[in-house]
Amino acid sequence: MEAAKVPVTLITGYLGAGKTTLLNRILTEQHGKKYAVIVNEFGEEGIDNELVVDADEEIFEMNNGCICCTVRGDLIRIISTLMKRADAFDGMIIETTGLADPAPVVQTFFVDEDVQAKVSLDAVVTVVDACHFLDAVDEEHELAEQVAFADIILLNKTDLVDADKLNAVKAKITGLNKMAKIIETVNSGAPIEEVLDRGAFDLSRVLEFEPGLLDEEDDHEHDEDIISVSLTTDTPIEPEKFSNWIRGFIMERGVDVLRTKGILNLSGQDNRYVFQGVHMVMDSAWGAPWDSASRSSRLVFIGRNLDETELNSAFQACTVAA
């Protein structure tokens, strides 16, 4: 008898991109529903909600000695306490500071038991200012990280740029993150149903990719930059080979890997095997059965210092044919 978990939406984005405008749009359009809003700084724009909790951005390292294995201690405390209140929340929305690294926030939902028991992270929504993004992304590496972590990108203020610049911004975003859905907006005016209830971390919905996003248009960035690497194979995967490789890779390179998603055709199995990860935190489950037509395994990494050729040969070596 498990109560439905309260969905949590994480809104990130650089200062002035339109995060609070989006937040207020959600709160206004979803009137009648009850949200808890957690913010790290009170901006100039007020937040139109009964319950706004001020968080402290306390990033705690787990004591395994790894710099990427972090959680947000303040969120653990706030969410655990809010869930004891009598208020039945329809959702929670967390707005981060402009320069926040989304990783500790996201990992909190997969590491802390109390948080995991009561709420689930629905999606990371990153608001991008079309006008200033290209200049800012080279200055502030957090901005690239926020885009790389996103499930949904609100490409905002599109009225302030011409078609060429908009295309350049889109190309840059796609280079950083091939998995995210891009919604072009003016004044953060995205349809709410495209922002809420996405189930982006729900394993049963992992890799419901839109096919276009997986087209290989290989515009290599510098190796220190964040890129997306997507790998596919039609040959069934040998579970043990794959497991050994992915564990080793994530242990060794998890600091550089921001997000991972995979859907695998394991040899001898009728069902899809789906998994996802944030840095070194991995989560996996059996998914829906394959239909007879195609059984392609797909794997996407978003991160730094990723060598597509090397990753591809390692992945191909996990098939039964190898």
């Binding site: 008898m1 001020d54 402290d56 306390e58 705690f60 390292e61 787990m62 004591n63 395994n64 959680v71 201690g73 303040d74 653990i76 405390r77 306490t81 869930m83 004891k84 209140r85 009598a86 802390d112 038991e113 109390d114």
Partner: protein, 371 residues
């Protein structure tokens, strides 16, 4: 130097207990009475002196009282408060209840009267502690909100205040003589001397997030629970640190047996107790009792006089066990709802537990727990 013993999930099980048989019988040594679920989440359980009443804080901003007379009484609303009561302990001398709220107020409940002793700019008061001196009448109160911690005397004057902590203060514990207070936070514990304002605070360092702290009743040890599914213990005399690890779950509660011989913790599928006689828990595995299939211990409460600890589990089970003999009995069967508060009366004859649905179990001991 660590006490890195891995916990054996099978150890300390109830003799003859078969988890698959559904045979979850309450021990005949316990008289159990239970009230229906209130439907709100309890945040603490405190028992008032004279053991007449348990006071339970709830997530619906209400304080409810329950008579312990076992006369079929139901919980009654004692007071409505204007914010969620998130922390509660017995006040000085056991008279009244000290309460911290998520509205940033420090409240005192006396009978059904609520007075405000202190307030913040809105920062949640999530941690409170009370020390009663030998007279039984006077003492100290401490509360923490965000990074700041304040100690007040019985009249409400500030004895000490500090915000020199690397994170929000997640636990407070007075030394048994009331001359010091330990504040737990990220990367360790800060210990303040209350009797000498000029004395520099002592920082006990250990990397990671410390989420609870408890000073041993004999004053020799300070133990913390950590986000990292382990505990840390410092010997106060020489500040030597010891690590107690191997837990499958994070540790939400700590309790010291009355003589200070053992510290018991939640976080495993048994109640685990570490031997802190002599130099501390190094090199020794914990004693265990009360294995519950598919359950994790959420709350622990040491008996006020005997070497007995009560454990409240994630499935609503309550077990009472003897630490050294590693034997256990069921005091309340599973309700399916995790135990969120657990407290003994001062004479140790009655145990009160509250589960997340707001059901309150009163367990009366029919015979002595340790012969």
């Amino acid at each position: 130097m660590t006490a890195d013993a891995l916990i054996n999930p099978q150890a300390g099980g109830v003799p003859g207990f078969n988890p698959d048989a559904g045979a979850r019988l309450v021990s005949p040594a316990v008289g159990l009475s239970e009230t229906p679920a209130v439907g709100a989440h309890p945040t603490f359980v405190v028992i008032e002196p004279g053991q007449a009443r348990a006071v339970i804080g709830f997530g619906d901003k209400r304080l409810r009282g329950l008579s312990l007379a076992l006369d079929g009484a139901q919980p009654q609303v004692v007071a409505d408060v204007d914010a969620t009561p998130i922390a509660g302990v017995a006040d000085i001398g056991g008279k009244g209840v000290l309460i911290g709220t998520d509205g940033g107020t420090l409240l005192r409940l006396d009978g059904s009267d609520v007075t405000t002793l202190a307030s913040t700019d809105g920062a949640w008061i999530g941690q409170i502690a009370v020390h009663t001196d030998k007279s039984g009448e006077a003492g100290l109160r401490a509360f923490a909100a965000g990074k700041s911690m304040t100690v007040l005397d019985g009249e409400g004057s500030v004895v000490l205040t500090s915000d020199d902590h690397p994170s929000t203060v997640a636990g407070l514990s007075f030394s048994p003589d009331g001359t010091k207070i330990a504040a737990a936070h990220y990367d360790g514990v800060t210990v303040y001397t209350l009797t000498d304002a000029k004395q520099k605070p002592v920082r006990l360092d250990w990397h990671g997030s410390h989420t609870a702290v408890a000073w041993s009743p004999n004053g020799k040890f300070i133990v913390t629970a950590m986000q990292d599914k382990e505990m840390h213990c410092w010997r106060w005399k020489d500040k030597t640190g010891m690590r107690m690890s191997g837990y499958p779950s994070k540790i939400r509660a700590l309790t010291w047996t009355a003589d200070g011989g053992y510290v018991a913790a939640s976080g495993a599928d048994t109640v685990t107790s570490w031997d802190c006689s002599g130099k501390g828990p190094s090199g020794k595995p914990p004693l265990e009792f009360g294995y519950v299939y598919n359950g994790i211990v959420m709350q622990v409460a040491a008996h006020p006089t005997d070497g007995v600890v009560a454990g409240g589990y994630s499935d609503g089970t309550v077990m009472i066990g003897t630490v050294e003999q590693e034997t256990a009995m069921i005091a309340r069967p599973s309700s399916g709802s995790a135990i969120s508060g657990l407290a003994w009366t001062a004479d140790g004859t009655t145990l009160v537990a509250a589960d997340e649905q707001g059901a309150i179990a009163v367990m009366r001991m029919k015979e002595a727990l340790v012969s």
